[in-house]
Subunit: 454 residues, 2 copies
């Protein structure tokens, strides 16, 4: 196949171009990176045009812009809508990176840098697959629409407005997303389930100002202690989330599915090694695979308050803060869960403090039957692209957009992940296995070819 030869011959150029993309610190959560976000959007638009996509535009939103493009010259062939994101997580803590987060570097067959796995590397796989087909065949085997957003890491705040506005232009027979992981090295995977995500922030206020812990300590509410006492009450001794009603709508997963998931070539030993903790802990009565894929959670993502600098300061602060999130599974409703969480937290807090409760984002869980022929095509393309047996998996992460698209357009959503679970997405030393990056380009090009004959 010409396109496979083309991909093989361009490996160095592809890698260098990806590095260029990775050097742009497009951190969506920080206002100081606004110019970088815009630079990244322009970069994506240019490269899409160069790959042969048409009508490429940078669409302003209420927040960071969306990059859209299309190629619609394959009449009677399916149309797919490709989704990805060009924004990345913050790189902090910077001191824990072996090489700087925004200076990509290859070590031991991996490319290191913020965004390598999540999601710039995977977006680039699609760009290069499209380019390979166009350059080697002069056209694409199917119709392709591309939307690459800049707010995925901040909860895709303006994405839905964009979809509503572009609704007709986005119509497709399938949604393709590459923003997830393969089960393990050498196990190409199609993901058919994701957890939902609600992200919260609270601010607890005790006194009217910071106070000297000697002069006042022992008689006044300490918001730090009260924050700790609050979060200590949000899990029970079996590792379950101790919020009344939290599990009420959790759909039972069939024995057959639990068996299939637990039978995947997933190794607890490898997971433990990746985590690197002295032990694991989680909800009793479920395997680790079940805990991270099919069970809801509540996790603290950040806490702060009082003096956190060098040395000692004997202060009782006025305020304490926490960022935390709940991962949701079918059929938990994000709005309902947010209300339960706020209600219970307000109930638990003592009257000596006040509390500001914010929901920063909400997103539904998603799970799909993988019986549609498009899923078969994806599975087959992965096996051909990688030369390995492919599997169907679920994931613990969240892409709220997938659920929304599924609910709105009622088309199959096919998640082809080329990352790996231990590639430190959201952590220092994020990386992607180059074998998966190059294999991904082949598999995706192959997938578009196979879709043409479905």
């Amino acid at each position: 196949m010409l396109f496979l030869e083309y991909i093989e011959s361009k490996k160095n150029e592809h890698l260098e171009e990806l590095k260029e993309f990775l050097r742009i610190p497009s951190v969506s959560t920080k206002s100081e990176n606004k110019a970088d976000i815009e630079r990244a959007a322009k970069w994506v638009a240019e490269k899409l045009r160069a790959a042969g996509m048409e009508n490429v535009e940078i669409v302003p939103t209420g927040g960071h812009p969306m990059v859209f493009g299309e190629w619609l010259k394959a009449p009677d062939k399916p149309t797919v809508l490709l989704y990805g994101h060009y924004d990345v997580q913050p790189a902090e803590p910077l001191e824990l990176w072996t090489s700087p987060a925004f200076e990509p570097a290859v070590r031991n067959g991996n490319l290191f840098g913020r965004g390598t796995a999540d999601d710039k590397g995977q977006v680039h796989i699609h760009m290069k697959a499209i380019e390979a087909l166009m350059k080697s065949e002069g056209k694409l085997p199917v119709n392709i629409k591309v939307m690459i957003e800049g707010e995925e890491e901040t909860g895709s705040t303006n994405l839905w407005n964009f979809v509503e506005k572009f609704r007709d232009r986005l119509k497709a027979d399938a949604l393709i997303v590459s923003d997830t992981s393969m089960l393990a090295p050498g196990v190409p995977s199609v993901t058919y389930g994701l957890r939902g995500l609600n992200y919260y922030q609270i601010e607890i206020t005790g006194g009217a100002q910071d106070m000297h812990s000697g002069v006042f300590g022992g008689a006044v509410p300490n918001p730090l202690t009260i924050l700790c006492e609050l979060f200590a009450k949000l899990h029970d001794k079996n590792g379950r989330v101790a919020i009344p009603g939290f599990y009420d709508k959790v759909a039972k997963v069939s024995k057959a599915e639990r068996k299939a998931l637990n039978g995947l070539p997933w190794k607890l030993k490898d997971f433990k090694k990746t985590v690197g903790a002295a032990g694991l802990c989680g909800e009793k009565g479920f395997t680790v695979v079940e805990q991270i894929w099919i069970r809801p959670t509540m996790e603290l993502n950040g806490i702060w308050g009082g003096y956190i600098g060098e040395g000692a300061k004997t202060v009782i602060p006025a305020k304490a803060y926490a960022k935390f999130s709940t991962r949701l599974v079918p059929d938990q409703a994000p709005e309902k869960i947010a209300k339960l969480v706020e209600k219970h937290i307000r109930k638990l807090l003592p009257k000596t403090v006040s509390c500001k409760f914010e929901v920063l984002s909400m997103g539904k869980p998603w799970v799909a039957p993988y019986t549609h022929p498009f899923f078969e095509a994806a599975h087959s393309a992965l096996e051909k692209g990688f030369g390995k047996r492919a599997v169907f998996i679920r994931e613990g992460g969240s892409i709220p957009f997938v659920t929304q698209m599924y609910d709105t357009f009622k088309v199959p959503c096919i998640l082809l992940g080329f990352g790996l679970p231990d590639e430190n997405a959201h952590a220092p030393d994020e990386h992607i296995l180059l074998e998966n990056y190059f294999g991904g380009i082949k598999a995706v090009a192959q997938f578009y070819k196979e879709l043409a004959s479905v």
Copy 2:
């Protein structure tokens, strides 16, 4: 009295000179302020010389330097050793200051700025009292030794080495310290008891690196949650510190003393107003005055971990941190308490995490009978200097040095405080009531006069 007229005539000059002192950001806990610390030490030495003190020197220590000076030309008169500190607490959070922390400003009869009350303002009171006596009488009524240190806010790490080295030169009949507060405006006070202070820091480590809360959440130890669960267990429901043995050595305070302390002109209403919280909380079975003066405590002073920036980051961090302290009362031994705290914390933590436990500083509590004639002289001088009834009080804060000096030299330690409890020592908008600053200069000069006739 000539010296009183001198003090009255120099008010403006005194205030301007104090402002100069306050403009030096001598934050001892931050390495970036090392040069400012040295500048502050020089400033103190110069002003002591100008006031008439002799043999003034800046003595290097393992950390920040000590300023020492003496005037020993009053044979047959008592010798007092004056202690204070020229270092200050960090000014953060900067955004909560009405006027900048290191740009002193007068508002409503108060002087605002970091160090106004704790302790530059009070050190300056003594400098100006000495100057007034020297300038108006050509000599001092008693022998005076002065030591002003630069590490009080970081636990006086090198103070004791200095004392050991200078032991003979420090010998005196009494130790005078002005680093505490008056009970209330218009109530000049002699403090006869302080709580001790142990300051700790812990670092809890779960995974080998930060992890994506979607990919790993639900199965791995979250050090933030574990930190919260730990601190939730360190107080019982009666507000008592839940560390076995913590109260074992707490000396019983006599009924008479409790009655005297509770009968002071101290107003719960004013305390509540200063705190500004929706309610108070503390150890059951004790009044607020008892909770803050005669009962030991454990307070969190800072917590941090995970993502604490703008927006959302779905991370389970590898590490969580806390700074916390125990205030101690007679006869709790700091070393013993530190061991009990560490032992219990290690016992409470689950095996899924590791913990680094550090004791940043330790200091004994102190309480003295106030029957010595020097205490009488102080009481009388305060009444004359302020024209108000003076009282004997205890304080919740800590000056470990006082205990050490008391234990070593076996001389009365007389604590003359000119701050007020609501003057935000250690907090934004720290200030000193100018009436107390000016009254303090008169009272201290008067005190040295009265000591001469004891």
